[in-house]
Each structure stands twice: as structure tokens, then as C-alpha cells.
Symmetry: C2
Subunit: 318 residues, 2 copies
């Protein structure tokens, strides 16, 4: 596992390491959305990634970076979201155990997804304290490696491969925009821009109802994410030391957007591009549409982070 | 305009004619659906086509096949669906008028789509008689060419380019499956298989609640589509002389499927492939899943005909 801020070579090696098991996702464009946004947007489709989210890149890199001895003991994390599924699949592909701690209140659909990837689930109370204690116990008993969803340099290097693919495929991007929750994707994108396309500015996009990253950058300290209110279920977490330090040094700006514009951006992508993205991905297009002057006439890479939505419960349903 | 069953050269020429304005759509695969279906399915994504449906191929070929004199007078049709939008856009790209007759009861969203493409809409009563009379009057007054949505060899040759792309990209397909409503897409697919991959069997897929094509082939006469009951709004029409003759000579079989399996096939594609398809496209996967022995271990091309759905009103909503 990586114990320093990923260098250029670390990201290149991460990409080599995960290439065989991770999809090189396509970049799509939409002439009608370009017309509405008055710029050229290149949509990097991590909704088509395995497990339906970019998280599989980081999880793969973390698992494949373990040494032989640690590998056998397996990996563990607490999460009910895309990271849990991603880590479970990455472990399964390496034929090692994955221990996932989940609040017993997690939606059935998420429990089943993780189960289907063959992970061993331990349920806990829906509090951070119970999660951490339960996880500590499992790590203690099994010797499994705790893979934090984003406060981990191997995870960050893995997520960075997404931006690397975009920046290698498209030259001279003016901007690259990624959503920010815990900051794993955004910090990785910052590093890839720095190493592979230094003239490209990196923008984070965040829901107003969970704007702790925006406030953290403004104030120079990590603000906790207290009682976040947003449909973006992937963006409820707060920055960590590792992601905060990279983002504060390399991101250009964090743009916050309201829930209504997130929902309409999501619907716009579904309707016009005929692809399914989750709310956490739509925050990026909403950020562009809110700042038309900034992006007018520019070439903009945009990371669609995932496509896992509950089709029975869409946000535009009356 | 073509006045005979399209020959191989006619389809090659149609493809050349429309290439610059029609998307060469991607072919996607899904390892999880392959596992469920126990065969290798190649999804041809016409949901990503302009106007969101394969119909733009036929409409483009029809418009671009008009002679200079006829072109100026424009094109006309009666339709409230994808053909109306496709013909309107094809006319707009050639800078000629499009006259669309629509029942005044058509959904607002479809009216707006056609208007946005710059067509002139004339509303009529929601009966076939009123549609045909209103259209005849417009054709009489304007001299516009009536472009039938499928009983037209230039349309059929245009739709055939979709199957041609699949069969040129993928060699040795055992089957190619397409939905059947009026039969424009299926008859075109039959011709492309005959000319470009004669060993590939062509299967039509049809809702049980609108199984007029199935019965027509069984009985050797065109049965009308009387009071069809299906969520597949693109498959309500009946075969015409032109499409029936091609399909009866060249299609291998028509498989009918119930509404429940159409809805679950549609949801399976949305959830696992993260792409949006309309119900009329899902009938094909439903047909494969219903006949597992037939398709087991085979290579199957499948045409996802379109992606225009009302996101406010999805079929799995309680």
C-alpha cells in the first residue's frame, strides 16, 4: 500500500496494475447539452464501470497493492455504498475474503449487492461509533487490511486513473469537473491533472446541502459533514487529512449547487444521452449550467461518477 | 425513391447516403446479462441514434433520396411517434418543410419534440380516417411527398443499415433479433442478413398483446392490429404489403412475449447496462430469456430500437 501522496509514477503504475480488470470507460458527448451549456462537454462514463461506479478503480488498486502475506488475510471496510460493493468484487477477483461492516438499517438492495459479490457482511448499529468498533473487532480477529473508502493513498491513486484516461484521450481540456464527497475522486483528479495536463483547471462540484468541502477549503480546516441534506447519497461524507491536503493545493474551486438544479441536470442527462447516472454524478453538470460565463466556449471534461440508482424511487417522481 | 424490394446495392447506397448525418451507434455487451441468458448478446444501441431511435435512418434515406424538384416541396406524414420526429429532423437538416399530421390528443411532450425540429404540425381527430384525410389535403395543397413510416422501400433500405452495421462489425452471429411493429426495422434486418450474413437467422420479437405479425406469418395473410394492448408504444401498428412480403420470405420466426417479461427485461437493461431503452426495445431481450434452449451458447445480435420514454411514468412504478 502507498504511504505517500501519489507521484506521477505511482499513478502510472496503478493504471498498469488495474488495467486488466477495470473497464476503460467511454467518453460521450451530447450536441444538445453542449448547445444548452454553451461549451464542449466530454462525459467520462464511470457509470459503465464495473460495480457501476469509479470506486472499483481505487478498490482494485488497493487490493492489488497488498503484499502476498496481507492478501491472504483479506480486506475490510465499513460502508453501505459503492465502495463496499467495489471492494467486495475486487477481493472476489483475487479470491480473498472481504469483510464489510454495514448498518443493519442499510437498504436491502445494497445488502444483496454486496452479498452477491461474495463478501461477509457484519451488521452493526447505524452509528459511526458502532461501525468503527465493529470493524476494529473484525480487523483484530482476522488480520484483514482496513481499506478506507478515500483516506488511503492507494485508493486515491486508483481513482486518479479515471482522470488520467480523460486527459490522455482529450488534449487541451480547459477544465475537468468531478463531484466531491470524501474527496477520493477529486483528489485523484487533481493529481492526474497536475501530472498529465497541468494547464487543465480542476473544479469540484458539491451539493449546497452538503457543502462541507466548500467550507473546508474556504476556511483552511476540515469541517465535518453534519446532518447533510441532499439526494446525492454518494456525497454525504467529509474530507479526510489526505484528500483535504491534495485538494486545497491543487483544486481551482468548489462550486455548490442546489437540489433542484441537481435533479434537472440528472434528468437532462437521462433524457438527452439515454444513460443512467446517479444523483451524485449530476452535480457536475449542474455546476456548469450554474456558471455559464465561466465555462462559455471552453472544453470541459466531466466525470460521471456512477450509475447506481433505485429505479423504484426516482427524484422527479411526484 | 426506391420502387422495388431493396437489393444489396440499394442498401449499400442507402448507407453511403446517410452516413454523414446518422450516428454509427455502438454495440455494447453485458457479462451479467450474458450469464443470465446463457448466450453472448451484442446490443446495438439505436437508443443513442439521433432522435433517440433507429427511425432516423429510414427518414434520412427517404429525404436524401428525393429528387431536386420533389425536395423543395417537402415531406409529409401522419404519426405521433419516433417517425414524426425523425422525418422532421431529416427535413430540417436538408432545409425543406416537413408537414406532420398528429391527433390533437397526442401527448404534449411529443408535440413539442416535433415542433422543436421545426416541423409544421396539423392537428386532426384521433381516428385513422381523420389522419388520412388531413394528410391527403396537405399533400394535395403542398405537393409534399408522403413518407409512410414503413410501407416504403426507401424507409426499409434505411432501417436495413442498422442490421448491416451489426453484421459487418460482428462476424458469425447465429441470430439477430429485432422488435416488430409495422415491420420496417425487421424487414430491413431480414434483407441485411440475407445480403451480408446469410447464415444468421433473423428473429422478430413482438408483445403478446399486439401479436398481429405473429398471426399474419402463421396464417399467410396480414392481420390488422385491432385494439392492441401493450406498453410497447412503438409496436402498435400492423404489417404492410411491403414489409409482410419481405418478412414472410426471410424471417425465421416471430417470438411473442407477455408484458411482465417485457417490463423485467427493460428493467434488467436499465439496471445492469445503465442505459435507457424504451419498452419496444425490451421485447427482444424478453424473447431471448423466454427461449433459453434456442439461444443457449449462441452469438446473438439484438437491436435496441430506441430510448424515448416518459421518465415521469415508468412501467415498474407502483
Amino acid at each position: 500500500m502507498l504511504d505517500r501522496i501519489p507521484a506521477k509514477q505511482d499513478i502510472i503504475e496503478a493504471h498498469e496494475r488495474i488495467k486488466r480488470q477495470v473497464h476503460h470507460t467511454p467518453v460521450l458527448t451530447s450536441s444538445s447539452i453542449n448547445k444548452i451549456a454553451d461549451c464542449k462537454i466530454y462525459f467520462k462514463c464511470e457509470n459503465f464501470q464495473k460495480v457501476g461506479a469509479f470506486k472499483f478503480r481505487g478498490a482494485s488498486n488497493a487490493v492489488l497493492s497488498l503484499n502476498k502475506n496481507d492478501l491472504q488475510k483479506g480486506v475490510a471496510t465499513h460502508s453501505s455504498g459503492n465502495h463496499a460493493a467495489a471492494l467486495s468484487l475486487a477481493a472476489k477477483m483475487k479470491n480473498i475474503p472481504a469483510y464489510i461492516v454495514m448498518p443493519r438499517t442499510a437498504p436491502e438492495i445494497k445488502k444483496r449487492a454486496v452479498e452477491n459479490y461474495g463478501a461477509q457482511i457484519t451488521f452493526c448499529e447505524p452509528t459511526l461509533k458502532s461501525r468503527e468498533e465493529t470493524l476494529a473487532k473484525i480487523v483484530d480477529e482476522t488480520g484483514a487490511a482496513f481499506i478506507h473508502p478515500y483516506d488511503n493513498y492507494s485508493i486515491i491513486a486508483g481513482q486518479a486513473t479515471c482522470g488520467k484516461e480523460v486527459l490522455e484521450e482529450l488534449h487541451n481540456l480547459d477544465f475537468i469537473v468531478a463531484p466531491v464527497g470524501g474527496g477520493g475522486l477529486l483528489s485523484g483528479t487533481c493529481l492526474s491533472a497536475k501530472y498529465f495536463s497541468p494547464q487543465t483547471k480542476v473544479i469540484g462540484a458539491e451539493p449546497q446541502g452538503a457543502d462541507d468541502a466548500f467550507r473546508s477549503l474556504r476556511d483552511g480546516v476540515i469541517h465535518p459533514s453534519v446532518n447533510p441534506k441532499t439526494i446525492c447519497d454518494g456525497l454525504l461524507t467529509q474530507l479526510s487529512e489526505r484528500t483535504f491536503n491534495i485538494i486545497r493545493n491543487h483544486a481551482d474551486e468548489i462550486i455548490t449547487v442546489d437540489e433542484g438544479s441537481i435533479i434537472s441536470a440528472m434528468k437532462m442527462i437521462w433524457e438527452r444521452m439515454k444513460i443512467i447516472i446517479e444523483p451524485s454524478s449530476a452535480v457536475t453538470l449542474a455546476a456548469i449550467l450554474k456558471n455559464k460565463e465561466k465555462f462559455s466556449g471552453k472544453k470541459v471534461g466531466l466525470i460521471l461518477s456512477g450509475g447506481n440508482v433505485d429505479l423504484e424511487n426516482l427524484p422527479w417522481k411526484e
